[in-house]
């Protein structure tokens, strides 16, 4: 018999369901299998082993899709009969998923087509809306284990226009470059041949017309950037580039106009083409990740409002919540606003907000904060604030979130460009002055030739190629950067700040320790069976932690909410719960989570839940403390201070009880002292600090799940490589510096031809691609070598 579920691949316990000679871990998986096999969709299991997910209980969860106003906001197209909707399905992970989602019409005849975009994990479904509602489509997806994720973010998204202008510019430059190369080739060798003399004017004017769109469309970005730079009194790299393009075009046009020569149209189009290739290469995006998320991606789109007078329920958009509204929050729903608990037992999980794993118990009259997730049954609350004014969401009204971090960043190329451009202008002026005196007819020729040949093509290409290549290498090592500039910023850091919960500690494993008298075998069995009956998260963690025992029925069981449990079996009795409930001789320390046990009227001991630190936290800190100042900022109480202080290097600063605003202001304070800060965090409470810091890194257990807005997302498993990543960033910046030296050498050779007045179009046409391509190969080889040497791919 198989040990793993045929549908989802989870291991089956003793209670596996065997159906059709296959094992299933639960009824849900079996139901999906039955549905697929009865609809001739068994192929799903051939493409990939155990591709499925356990379908979640969804009853009532999507009721808000009955509200037509919400549906209108979600669908992309609606003509009354046909609707098109684009849904994000996080579970999508293999070719089986694509296959089953694109064959949805076999399960539901009213679905016309379904098209998957795998990198984005979305499926676009076209269905007959007169026969099938959006709610039914979503429920069908959920039933087969592909529950779509619909959040407030989908609500005001609208149609996003993809910016493809770079591709068009690149295509035009490439097209013109190829054709101009053909047309300019005959004249390279300057043979006095009859037919060539006859047609060369035609060829020249054709080249001229090909270069027009290159200069006036493909090259526009460089002119705009140079103009902006000059206006801000900065000599950025685009200034000499724009100057080069302009001079190339004007001189070539004048040459063919007065029949002085062929012009440099080949070099002109080639230059723009290579520059745009560099730009294109640097622009690597991870379409399945988003670096711009705010609370909207976490928040639900609708909520159930209870009418106080009529006692009726209706689904409303969360933006329509008004202060004083009575809301119903069901099991595992997220609270969208700050509210007061009116009815029911609240068990709030704030892990979205703080990264803190243990849920908090609240009773009627307590204040609840937006972002908390209700874990246990339904509750009724009364809204205290609207969505935008809630405690957590207010953070986003801070200015940090509207600032563009990259705008103030001066990269290495632009730093060098300042000197480069000045030197270039001096050389050209000196050379022109010399020729004015020596042979004034050559002066203009030399002046333009210097500007043409010194156009920093190789210089401008080395940065995008080395950064772009490193960006891809980092991506393969599961460190996803928002853009290439982040690598340069990683090289220049003074302080690294870590969040504690969820960043240094892991949410997956809990370290539980037991202190006290040993339990007898019967007591241990009774304890396990008692825990089995409880739904409390602590009971569940403890249940999985304890050695397995045979399952037996309890004679009596009673759960006192918020305190603990009483159970009895044969002559043994047990009490499990808080210190006061059990009657522990010790008083509970407020700082630690403990569960006490009393068996047969005798106090036995307590289980302490400790945070489990990630593997290699100590090594990371030791490695980084040599080069950086380290800080731990925790939103939690100081319960683990001693343990942390013992574990981490002595000069690490430890701060506890930090609110989201405190974290942001701490980073700001450091920056005002002139320090460059990297923040590493995971929860929404870190969002402010992540946005404020030079480099904000979000740690994620699963990169497909959400992380707050940041500059980089690091897979939690790869956290131990952080020092290597920083080292790789440093080496990459060094590589760029070496390549600058190389491209200056080419410039010196070119300047020799230019200053002596011997620059022929054919020399420019050889020198330009040669320098660009050799620099490109140089930086690619060096960055690849760096990644291999630092073993970025090894686990």
């Amino acid at each position: 018999m198989q040990d793993n579920c045929f549908h989802c691949g989870n291991s089956c316990d003793q209670d596996a369901i065997v159906f059709d000679e296959k094992a299933f871990c639960c009824r849900g998986c079996k139901a999906v299998y039955e549905l697929f096999s009865s609809n001739d969709l068994g192929c799903y299991y051939d493409l990939q082993d155990a591709p499925g997910a356990i379908p979640e209980e969804v009853a009532g969860k999507f009721d808000y899709l009955d509200n037509q106003k919400i549906v209108e906001k979600l669908v992309e197209f609606d003509d009354g009969d046909i609707q098109v909707v684009n849904l994000y399905v996080p579970h999508m992970h293999c070719s089986s998923c694509i296959w089953i989602l694109e064959n949805l019409h076999k399960l539901q005849a009213h679905i016309r087509t379904a098209q998957v975009n795998f990198p984005k994990k979305t499926v676009r479904i076209t269905y007959k809306s007169s026969a099938l509602s959006l709610k039914e489509v979503v429920q069908l997806l959920s039933r087969i284990g592909y529950e779509p994720y619909i959040s407030l973010d989908d609500f005001d998204k609208g149609k996003k226009e993809v910016d493809r202008s770079l591709i068009y510019k690149l295509a035009i430059a490439g097209f013109a470059f190829g054709n101009v190369m053909f047309l300019s080739f005959p004249e390279y060798f300057e043979v006095e041949e009859y037919w060539l003399e006859e047609y060369k004017h035609l060829f020249r004017w054709l080249m001229f017309s090909f270069s027009l769109p290159v200069v006036f469309y493909s090259g526009t970005d460089y002119f705009i950037s140079a103009y902006k730079g000059l206006k801000a009194k900065i000599l950025n790299i685009d200034v000499p580039i724009a100057l080069g393009i302009l001079v190339l075009f004007l001189r070539s046009t004048i040459e063919i106009l007065f029949d002085w020569g062929t012009g440099f149209f080949d070099s002109l189009t080639g230059l723009v083409f290579f520059l745009l290739v560099g730009k294109f290469f640097q622009q690597k995006t991870y379409s399945f990740l988003s670096f711009e998320r705010d609370y909207k991606s976490y928040f639900p789109i609708a909520v159930t409002r209870i009418d106080k007078q009529n006692k009726t329920e209706e689904n409303i958009q969360v933006y329509d919540i008004e202060v004083g509204d009575r809301l119903l929050i069901r099991n595992s729903e997220l609270l969208p606003v700050d509210a007061i608990l009116i009815n029911g037992e609240a068990q709030i999980d704030y892990s979205f907000v703080t990264g803190e794993r243990d849920p908090v118990r609240k009773v009627s009259g307590d204040k609840l904060f937006a972002g908390g997730k209700q874990l246990d049954g339904a509750i009724e609350v009364e809204a205290l604030k609207s969505v935008e004014q809630s405690y957590l969401t207010q953070l986003w009204s801070n200015d940090v979130f509207s600032q563009n971090k990259d705008a103030s960043f001066v990269n290495l190329t632009n730093k060098i460009s300042k000197y480069f451009t000045s030197v270039l202008l001096i050389i050209s002026l000196v050379a022109t002055a010399f020729w004015m005196y020596y042979d004034s007819s050559m002066a203009l020729n030399v002046f333009t030739a210097v500007l043409i040949i010194a156009c920093p093509c190789a210089l401008a290409l080395s940065t995008p190629f080395s950064l772009g290549n490193m960006l891809r290498i980092f991506g393969r090592a599961k460190f996803y950067l928002k853009n290439a500039h982040v690598i340069e910023k990683l090289n220049d850091l003074d302080t690294i700040i870590f969040d504690k919960t969820g960043t240094l500690t892991t949410n997956k494993k809990v370290a539980i320790t037991y202190e006290g008298l040993e339990l007898t075998e019967e007591e241990a069995s009774l304890l396990k069976n008692t825990l089995r009956a409880s739904n409390h998260p602590l009971s569940r963690s403890l249940y999985t932690f304890l050695a397995s025992q045979s399952i037996s029925t309890l004679d009596s069981f009673e759960e006192v909410t918020g305190k603990g449990m009483l159970a009895r079996q044969a002559e043994n009795s047990i009490q499990v719960g808080s210190a006061s409930f059990v009657g522990s001789p010790q008083v509970d320390s407020q700082l630690q989570t403990t569960v006490h046990v009393k068996a047969n009227q005798e106090y036995k001991g307590k289980y302490t839940f400790n945070n489990q630190y990630r593997l290699g936290v100590q090594t990371i800190f030791n490695a980084l403390s040599r080069s950086h100042k380290l800080v731990v900022l925790s939103g939690d109480n100081a319960g683990e201070k001693e343990q942390l202080a013992k574990m981490l290097p002595k000069n690490t600063q430890l701060l506890f009880d930090q609110k989201p605003d405190d974290k942001l202001n701490f980073v700001k304070g450091l920056q005002e002292k002139g320090e460059k800060v990297m923040m590493i965090g995971d929860g929404l409470n870190d969002a402010g600090a992540l946005a404020q810091s030079e480099v904000g890194v979000a740690i994620s257990e699963n990169v497909n799940v959400f992380s707050p807005a940041c500059d980089a997302i690091l897979d939690a498993e790869q956290m131990h490589k952080l020092p290597s990543f920083l080292l790789a960033a440093r080496r990459t910046v060094n590589t760029i510096k070496y390549s600058f030296v190389l491209s200056f050498l080419y410039n010196v050779i070119g300047l020799y031809f230019a200053v002596t007045g011997q620059l022929k179009p054919v020399i420019a046409a050889i020198l330009m691609p040669l320098s660009s391509i050799s620099v490109l190969i140089f930086v690619t080889l060096l960055t690849n070598y760096t990644s291999r040497k630092l073993k970025l791919f090894k686990n």
Binding site: D40, G42, C43, D46, L47, S95, I98, W99, E102, V116, N117, F118, P119, K120, V162, R164, I167, Y168, A171, F175, N179, W195, E198, Y199, L202, L206
Partner: protein
């Protein structure tokens, strides 16, 4: 040799047609997702195989 005008015009025209087709396909979003079509292409075969199997079962009956 004046045929060269015709040849030049024709060659540029052909090049422009291909260029136009490329721009059109980019504009339609054909290059937005380059992963899924590569996987989808392989499914057709699987489906045919499944049908064949069914037919063979039928013939056995």
């Amino acid at each position: 040799m004046s045929v060269i005008y015709l040849l030049l015009a024709l060659s540029i025209l052909v090049a422009l047609i291909f260029f136009g087709v490329f721009i059109y396909s980019v504009k339609r979003g054909q290059y937005d997702d380059v992963h899924t079509p590569a996987v989808r292409m392989l499914f057709e075969d699987e489906l045919v195989k499944e049908e064949n199997q069914k037919q063979s079962i039928k013939t056995k009956d």
